[in-house]
């Protein structure tokens, strides 16, 4: 490699660094969060505004690991769901209406994460299929009712076919058949969660079980 090629690589690397590192983002105001830092988070099944009913549990079953890996105690989502159902709250909508002090009394949770699926599911077009998950989340302190944090996570996945029209038609049909069984949006939910919880200045801060706890500026 001659010197010119080397410097080209350098410029490219630095430019990449700029793109990856220095995107300016309006940081979230963590004043309430810092005043009432939770140890434990109760996640309720999401409100589902999408037309895909399977979204409720397709999403709920992806939300424990990202929050626990950030260092919080996360209550067992299915146990909580069943417990609430057995106690007269059959739907997510009704669960979201339970008074916060009641939640604290029953579960001992420091905070409740309310989520809403604004979009969930796959759309099949002629040449490809597009899966979108868009989730809005609010974390609320059970003792004061204060909003501790909120965020929105979006993820999209497009599976595109080849350049041959007939092959594309077949491919779209196959993709549809596969996706209708496995619900690709369930997998895309994990990406949406990463975009929701993990960003440095707008995400959920690290909790007590994380080695990064309170090391953030």
């Amino acid at each position: 490699m001659d010197l010119r090629a080397l410097s080209f690589v350098t410029v490219l690397a630095v430019a990449l660094l700029g793109i990856v590192g220095c995107k300016t983002v309006q940081p979230y105001d963590y004043t309430n969060f810092r005043a009432h830092p939770p140890r434990s988070i109760l996640v309720l099944p999401p409100l589902n505004e999408s037309t895909h009913v399977e979204g409720t549990y397709g999403y709920l079953s992806t939300v424990t690991s990202p929050i626990a890996e950030r260092g919080y105690y996360v209550f067992p989502v299915q146990v909580v769901d069943q417990f609430l159902k057995e106690n007269g709250l059959p739907t997510a909508g009704e669960m979201h209406q339970v008074p916060l002090n009641k939640v604290a009394e029953i579960t001992g949770a420091d905070a409740v994460l309310f989520t809403t699926l604004e979009q969930y599911g796959s759309k099949y077009q002629l040449l490809n299929s597009k899966t979108v998950v868009k989730v809005h989340a609010t974390l609320v302190d059970t003792r004061t009712g204060l909003l501790l944090w909120e965020g929105r996570g979006v993820a999209e996945q497009t599976s595109s076919g080849s350049s041959n029209l007939l092959a594309n038609l077949i491919a779209a049909a196959v993709v549809q058949a596969i996706n209708s069984k496995t619900d690709n949006a369930h997998n895309v939910s994990r990406l949406a969660n990463a975009n929701l919880f993990n960003p440095k200045k707008t995400g959920l801060p690290f909790g007590p079980y994380s080695p990064e706890y309170q090391k953030e500026p």
Binding site: L3, V20, S61, Y73, T107, G108, A109
Partner: protein
């Protein structure tokens, strides 16, 4: 020059994504939950327990913790099978591992009696 390039590329890699080791062994915990909701009644609690117990053996071999809620979930599956003693034991393990769960675990334990 060469060193600088190495540094720049290294910085790009670092600022991208560094794979941190996870805090817990997740195994099939969330996928078992997903499957039981997606195909209600199709996957008997016995098979769910079997999958989770396998994860547990693996976690013990690598000295990793099970995630929050995991033992309570196991207790819930044992309860469905009518195995109250094992259910009780798992709920108590959850409480011992994660004191944050105490209020809910005590409530569930009281319901078992």
């Amino acid at each position: 020059m060469r060193r600088f390039i190495g540094l720049a590329v290294g910085a790009v890699v670092l600022s991208g994504c560094v794979a941190r080791p996870t805090l817990y062994t997740w195994g099939s915990y969330e996928e078992v939950i997903y499957a039981s909701y997606a195909t209600p009644g199709k996957i008997p609690p016995e098979s769910q327990l079997e999958a989770l117990e396998k994860d547990y053996q693996q976690a013990r071999a690598t000295n990793k913790r099970m995630p929050p809620g995991w033992h309570a979930h196991l207790g819930y599956l044992y309860y469905q099978l009518g195995k109250a003693d094992q259910a009780r034991q798992e709920l108590q393990t959850e409480k011992a591992e994660f004191p944050e769960s105490a209020v809910l675990m005590d409530r569930l334990l009281a319901n078992l009696k």
